[in-house]
Symmetry: C3
């Protein structure tokens, strides 16, 4: 049986671009099962593309083929790669940082670089702007349907050579853990940090305990206050802030049924720092 094929782009769904990618995949193999991660990655935002892969890839069976096309450098010399994760999923993408989180956290087992000209959909002529359709969807469909075989496709390269964006690693120092704000849970306005629940628990925090939370970006302090660590949103009042373990088992900050990000105009990325400090003598 063919494997699932999952598309992610920054193309949106307003025009026919994603549908043309689906058509190419259906032409390769009409029995393919095709799905979407999201097509609403902010344009050219490779960081967010990387994070959304981390959020989803792990929940799919081994063999699933992801095609991610956020490609500000389309037509330049950046490489086209296929990575195989340690759990056996495949990700086809321009090698521009899209694999940052998967590489850092889940591990890329091996990677191959392939030639764009040799793997271009026939009859696309002079157009060199829609690699999502002509190269990535086409190659993804052939891999998912078994027409090409990862181990004999393109050229093997060291997994280590896959491009990574800079990340501020989380750390613990005395009674404090700190890290960066990775991404927003956009629709609900929650902050997702890169501080894992394991590191956090080295502070020996109990449910209901209040911690000091401080958020700053490179130029100023944005937020400094205390809030409770809660098992779930329902444990605090509506409108109250909380610290919680998010669905990727990292630490998050939210306002129950409100938007923390809007309330304090919070952004994301490696210049947005957050720390949790244990208040001594609380219990």
């Amino acid at each position: 049986m063919s494997k699932a094929l999952v598309f992610q782009t920054d193309f949106g769904l307003v025009d026919g671009a994603v549908c043309a990618m689906y058509g190419v995949a259906n032409t390769v193999d009409p029995t393919l099962k095709i799905f979407d991660l999201t097509h609403d990655i902010p344009q050219y935002n490779v960081w967010e593309a990387s994070y959304r892969l981390r959020q989803a890839v792990d929940y799919w069976p081994g063999g699933t083929v992801f095609v991610s096309v956020v490609d500000p450098g389309v037509g330049s010399t950046r490489r086209s790669v296929i990575a195989r994760t340690r759990r056996g999923q495949y990700i086809i993408t321009p090698d521009n940082g899209t694999l940052t989180h998967i590489k850092k956290m889940d591990g890329i087992e091996s990677a191959r670089v392939f030639d764009e000209k040799a793997n271009k959909l026939p009859n696309t002529g002079e157009s060199y702007t829609f690699f999502g359709r002509d190269i990535y969807a086409y190659t993804g469909a052939r891999l998912a349907s078994g027409l090409i075989d990862f181990d004999h496709f393109g050229k093997r390269v060291p997994a280590d050579s896959v491009v990574e964006l800079p990340i501020v690693p989380p750390f613990k120092k005395e009674n404090r853990v700190a890290g960066m704000i990775d991404v927003l849970d956009v629709r609900f306005g929650n902050l997702w940090t890169n501080i894992g629940h394991g590191l956090f628990h080295q502070l020996n925090v109990r449910q209901g305990e209040r911690l000091e939370v401080s958020i700053r970006n490179d130029t100023r302090n944005i937020y400094e206050n205390t809030m409770a660590f809660a098992r779930s949103f329902a444990a605090v009042a509506i409108g109250e802030p909380l610290i919680y373990v998010n669905s990727l088992q990292n630490m998050g900050i939210a306002i129950n049924q409100g938007s923390f990000a809007k309330a304090y105009s919070i952004g994301t990325g490696s210049n947005w720092h957050i720390s949790f400090r244990k208040i001594q003598g609380q219990f």
Copy 2:
């Protein structure tokens, strides 16, 4: 053959949350056919989740499994239920009012409550915030694929015990029918009332006949004017208002190729009242 699985949430499609739900379902059974109702329910709006189910469920074959996750009380003590409709579709949801319209209008044939802990996706650890992925998608996929059997899953509860939100029932009084504005046909700005075409026709209205329409909310009169009852939009001029039978066979109000809701700032819910009054001696 496995049954169709249909997801509805208030998560949006901007991040990887819905894709993770799809991944969980594909891991349970890679042959499942998965579809979306909508993921754009306004956050925490259980009323609208309930209405959208009513708009779609009936058109799907018996056996179809719907998973609806609009869950402001995630992590609290509200129950998790599976309802079987009289036509044999299943709906899995937090029992928070999401089943209001299905229960009132189409009928729930039976309902079962299930334990969240016993039905949580393995290896999701300390996270208790993403029941859509860890519990509802997981349980829905197992039901759609036949791995669990409704009649032996969880604990049977009276259909009557399923939570309902308040509804103002429509009524007829003399030459007038009245009810509430249930929902908007958002994109087109049409109002959908809870007045069925059967009740409306007790006024003996002919096509083309004009009626007095009045709309008020709890504090003031919003609209009072006459308009024609028309078979379809094309029966009136562009820009003209009309009364029509909507696609759920309830009475609607629209402006042909305009937005009635925007024109008069109309809202929805049990404090938005509407009535149609027959004008005597018109024919």
Copy 3:
């Protein structure tokens, strides 16, 4: 095996309308594979519906059934048609101009008109406003599943009788090619013209060569400047404008990683004129 079924509408995905169409199709044949072109066609914008079909149809296998419902005249006397393209795809739509681009550029091989009453989903009663669900999705599903046969369905009509919207044909005059702005690549703000790369190359333009670009609408000049013809976005600096061959092999205008359409408030349609003039003696 049944054929792929692809839906396009102006309904949006916020409510349950498209899901009801999916349900109808699944009820006709639960093995159908159903996909979306887009549901974000601006309301009633038949021109854009026509263009989006052109952007996608060609990439799908022969036999694929497209259902396009942008139908400002629902309930009026406009015909319902099925067109078969020269490559064997089918398009079911109200005959209101939705087939303009397919007809002009790719060719309709034959067309049939069908009766709406005789092909209405059973049990939809008095509602005459949701033909997308009751007639078009229902008919599309029956065609895709093989329950009806194009050659014996409805009544054959001349392909020539299919309704077309007006188009300004592109032309070459001396050292200049001119045409109209067909559509925007919305998300990226690029302009797509109806000037094919073949006509453009009659100017003997080399990569890197600068041309004079002028854009005007019916009342005034909007833009007059020179820019380079480039093979891809990466060939120019970030923020620089370029002329390129778009993914449909027509000429496009863009700002690399910016929005040309926003920068100069560009619109689309037959009153938006664009021309490229070769600058003599450049090489």
